[in-house]
């Protein structure tokens, strides 16, 4: 396939493009979903296609095709060139790419796992989901609905460009989740959920804390606990957030603002703030395509969709803004190094600046010390999503929480929403625990523009924050 891509690059250059890149995905996606006793979904997807980007005078044109024939790939290259050429006169801000050294991949760039999902049959995966559901039922109460999910994504990603790059590696994501809905005596529905994914072999789902019994049992137990949970008080309160919520904070509220496509246009409030102190010394945020997965979990991204080798980028270093996240054009524009953050959801979309694994760095507190530091406030746990606006305001939903008084957990809280402005919040980070966990997976992911969901990793330690606005009951 690399030969077809190389010919497309040559054709684009012949048409007049100053730089061309071409990529090919041949991915398999498998989803299993059981709701109560019914199998809702057992499916397999073959996602194969080619994407071509042509650059004319610093303007990119993109096209794609689901075909891998030379004729169709050439037609895509021609469309990409035409789009770039037609758009170029209107551009006021150009992001040209200067030719450099080609990227070359090696077999070791693909993360090796003990049991690749392609080595186990469907019955094995069906059993994983069945065990999850049974465990949820065993540990739950007043259950109205229980849902178990398994997902896997794997396959080849091939890339070349005008520099003669030759990148060929295998992508892998596996995931298992459980959702439980229970009904309280008041008639209100409450939820419990658990699960995790990332670049894992199936041996991960046999490890402590991650077995179907662990995942289902935790989801059931949490829904049961929520039956007696109280609404969160509204107002400005002290907060302790868990690893998963810290990850959403790192990703949604800070990570997106550090994406350099927002910076070169001036849309990000982090524009022109390199070297500025934005947070307390306890706040450090990294983005890395190459995390230590055995230790922390996460997603393995050795190359981005512009063929740039994955790396670790310290975005915020002890409260000081150090670096933005880039594609090749924004890195050149801002004279920073490319960070391997140009990613696309699939061949249907052009690569844009996206995160890989974004997380807060751990501190030195134990969980008990973090609770004592919190003193009185909300311990917010897990997340069902979040959002940030260009002005830095954010909102996250924590699935559940606890009310804490004088360092002691008092009672469970229902779903809580945290909001505020990220630049203010970073100045209120008071401490972090020693643990680091990165959450990733097949289900859900990051949305930006019309590209969603992109698998990403996000995480951190538990973090104590001085003052957060909680939406709740007045």
């Amino acid at each position: 396939m690399i030969e077809v891509l190389q010919k497309a690059v040559e054709y684009g250059e012949k048409l007049g493009a100053q730089f061309v890149d071409a990529r090919y995905d041949d991915l398999t996606l498998r989803t299993l979903e059981r709701t109560d006793d019914t199998w809702k979904d057992i499916q397999v997807k073959s996602r194969m296609g080619v994407g071509i980007t042509c650059y004319v005078e610093g303007v990119s044109g993109y096209s794609f095709t689901a075909s891998s024939t030379m004729k169709e790939v050439r037609a895509a290259a021609q469309k990409a060139f035409k789009m770039a050429r037609a758009s170029a006169p209107a551009a006021e801000l150009r992001l040209p790419i200067t030719k450099g050294s080609p990227s070359k991949s090696a077999p070791s760039d693909t993360l090796r796992v003990k049991i690749h999902p392609s080595e186990r049959d469907l019955a094995y995966k069906v059993d994983l989901v069945n065990r999850t559901i049974e465990a949820a039922r065993e540990h739950g109460a007043n259950i109205k609905n229980v849902r178990g999910l398994y997902g896997e994504l794997h396959g080849r990603k091939i890339f070349t460009n005008s520099e003669g790059s030759s990148v060929d590696w295998n992508y892998l994501v596996t995931d298992m989740r459980c959702f439980v809905i229970s009904k309280a005596d008041s008639g209100a529905l409450v939820i419990g959920l658990e699960g995790n994914g990332g670049t894992f072999g199936l041996e991960y789902f046999e490890s402590k804390g991650n077995t179907p019994e662990d995942v289902g049992g935790e989801a059931g137990s949490r829904a049961k606990e929520q039956l007696k949970a109280q609404p969160c008080p509204a107002g400005n309160l002290r907060a302790l957030i868990d690893e998963r919520l810290a990850g959403v904070l790192a990703h949604e509220s800070f990570g997106h603002l550090s994406e350099a496509d927002f910076v070169v246009t001036g849309a990000s409030p982090l524009t022109n703030k390199i070297g500025s102190r934005l947070g307390t010394p306890e706040a450090s945020i990294l983005d890395s395509g190459l995390p230590d997965i055995r230790k922390t979990g996460g997603l393995w991204v050795p190359f981005d969709d512009q063929g740039v080798r994955g790396s670790s980028t310290t975005v915020l270093d002890k409260g000081v803004l150090l670096h933005y996240l880039h594609n090749r054009g924004t890195a050149e524009r801002l004279s920073e190094r490319p960070t391997g953050n140009s990613r696309a959801v699939s061949y249907v979309f052009p690569p844009i600046v996206r995160m890989t694994n974004t997380y807060f760095m751990p501190g030195n507190l134990s969980e008990q010390e973090a609770l004592e530091k919190l003193d009185t406030g909300v311990y917010a746990i897990q997340s069902s999503g979040g959002q940030v606006e260009g002005n830095g305001s954010f909102l996250f939903i924590a699935v559940r929480g606890y009310w804490v008084e004088h360092g002691e957990i008092k009672y469970p809280l229902r779903e809580v929403a945290l909001s505020g402005n990220i630049l203010e919040l970073l100045t209120r980070v008071e401490g972090a625990t020693r643990d680091l966990h990165i959450q990733s997976g097949y289900f859900g992911g990051c949305g930006k523009g019309d590209q969603s969901p992109l698998p990403v990793g996000l995480g951190g330690p538990k973090i104590v924050i001085g003052n957060v606005t909680f939406g709740g009951k007045a």
Partner: protein, 464 residues
């Protein structure tokens, strides 16, 4: 492929796939779905241009052997790719013993509905015209005020078609197209950043971009010098059309889905015929509106799309179903089968299994103008100008929501007062509908395809 002949071509591909499938296993029931979608998109972001032009095409096959079900899909619609999807779906169904004992067959054939009224001139819009629209909107926005620092304009033309064939005799296809634009403006004054957007979308006419940049910029600039509310209290909230559309979509737009009803995850599941909203509230899913962006002849499994009343004068009247859940509920399909539908849609629907989504939700307009709704609020109230942050992250099952409203104004003594800094609004969707205190006459098509007027709710907690 051309728009005029696309349906015949896709039907031919689907039929070929179905015949191949029947040869592989005559004891199984099959459904073959084939999709072809063309998109041209141009974005002008602070002078930085990105342009895209391509075709997403793919096929999906569902197979049933008794109560065992399988699904497979493949990008591409060549014979080889359709055959691959058929073979993969059979390998799924033959390798598991898991059954869905509620399954009772795919969609039965019925007479198709109508397609949207599509203006063929949209097909002739070239990339330079899209670019010109982007430049015009940007220029307009920048001319409003020097504080307008960031302007992003986007225009797109898209058309697509799909065909469905199944073993029960369904052989249906539909096609539609539209052109859409969006302008997003950020005004910066010191550390204060204020944003606003405007959009247009149509299938029956070419885009109207004139005035959008100016309106968005004026609204963004008008929010400067926002004050802090300095209050935690329960206040009446007036949701403008964009905000109200988002509220409806993330609440009843999800909980009226047949799956949530049948599986008891919707709080509406035992409430048919009950009063769930104020008397002035009527909600319809209009799958056959001639100029509707969600209008198709058939849904994603070949059932005719329809007009479905969900709430009429506050009374819950109906839910939205595909064939599977409609049969389980005993009412049949309402033509709401989707593949990857929902607020944000997908350019690759063939990758999604069949689900349920509203086609075009419409809240019937009331009699009061937006200004009359403002003046109807005694004392303090809050005006939420557009969709608040986090509205799509709330849980339909519990109805609890907590959002951050960014474009928000104080209402005092019946008139709109000064802009406020972002504030948190929290409550319960369903309690809100019961405390609905006003429905405006200003129904507008929102960014996510829902048509709603302004709505006034009592009882939400505001923190700011």
């Amino acid at each position: 492929m051309e728009y005029e002949s696309i349906k015949d071509e896709l039907l031919s591909v689907a039929d070929t796939g179905l015949k191949f499938a029947a040869k592989q296993d005559s004891s199984a029931e099959f459904e073959v779905y084939v999709h072809y979608g063309s998109v041209s998109r141009v974005e002008l972001d602070q002078g930085m241009v990105t342009a895209k032009d391509g075709v997403a095409a793919g096929c999906a096959v569902r197979v049933a052997k008794g109560k065992r079900l399988g699904f497979a899909c493949a990008s591409g619609i060549s014979t080889a790719r359709v055959k691959k999807a058929v073979e993969e779906s059979l390998s799924v169904v033959n390798s598991v013993s898991a059954e869905d004992d509620k399954f009772s067959g795919f969609c039965d054939p019925k007479k198709a509905g109508r397609e949207c009224k599509f203006n063929r001139n949209i097909l002739g819009v070239e990339v330079d015209e899209l670019m010109r629209h982007c430049q015009d909107m940007t220029k307009e926005a920048r001319s409003v005020d020097p504080r307008v620092k960031v302007v992003t304009a986007e225009c797109r033309v898209l058309w697509d078609s799909y065909a469905v064939a199944n073993s029960r005799g369904v052989q249906q296809a539909s096609r539609s197209g539209s052109n859409r634009c969006l302008v997003y403006v950020m005004s910066i004054d010191g550390d204060e950043r204020k944003t606003a957007y405007r959009h247009d979308a149509a299938c029956d006419r070419l885009l109207h971009t004139e005035g959008l940049g100016k309106e968005a910029a004026s609204e963004a600039v008008g929010q400067h010098h926002a004050k802090k509310l300095e209050l935690t209290s329960v206040l009446p909230t007036l949701w403008g059309p964009e905000a109200a559309a988002a509220y409806v979509l993330s609440s009843l737009g999800q909980s009226a889905h047949g799956r949530a009803v049948v599986e008891h995850t919707s709080p509406l599941c035992d409430m048919m015929g009950a009063a769930i909203a104020g008397e002035g509230f009527t909600l319809v899913d209009e799958g056959q509106r001639p100029d509707g962006l969600g209008t198709e002849a058939v849904d994603a499994e070949g059932h005719p799309q329809m007009r479905n009343v969900i709430v009429e004068n506050g009374i819950l009247k109906g839910f939205l179903f595909n064939t599977y859940y409609g049969r389980l509920f005993g009412v049949g399909s309402t033509g709401n089968c989707s593949r990857g539908g929902g607020p944000f849609g997908t350019p690759i629907p063939y990758e999604s299994v069949t689900g349920i989504s509203a086609k075009a939700l419409e809240v019937s307009p009331g009699t009061k103008t937006h200004d009359q709704l403002v003046s109807s609020i005694d004392g303090k109230g809050i005006l939420i100008a557009d969709d608040p942050m986090g509205i799509f992250h709330s849980t339909m099952s519990t109805g609890q929501f907590s959002v951050v409203a960014n474009r928000v104004y104080l209402i005092e003594k019946g008139s709109r007062s000064y802009p406020l800094q972002p504030l948190s609004v929290a409550g319960n969707y369903y309690d809100g509908f019961k405390k609905l205190n006003g429905v405006g006459s200003n129904a507008t098509l929102g960014l996510y395809g829902v048509r709603s007027p302004s709505l006034v709710f009592d009882g939400f907690t505001v923190v700011g």
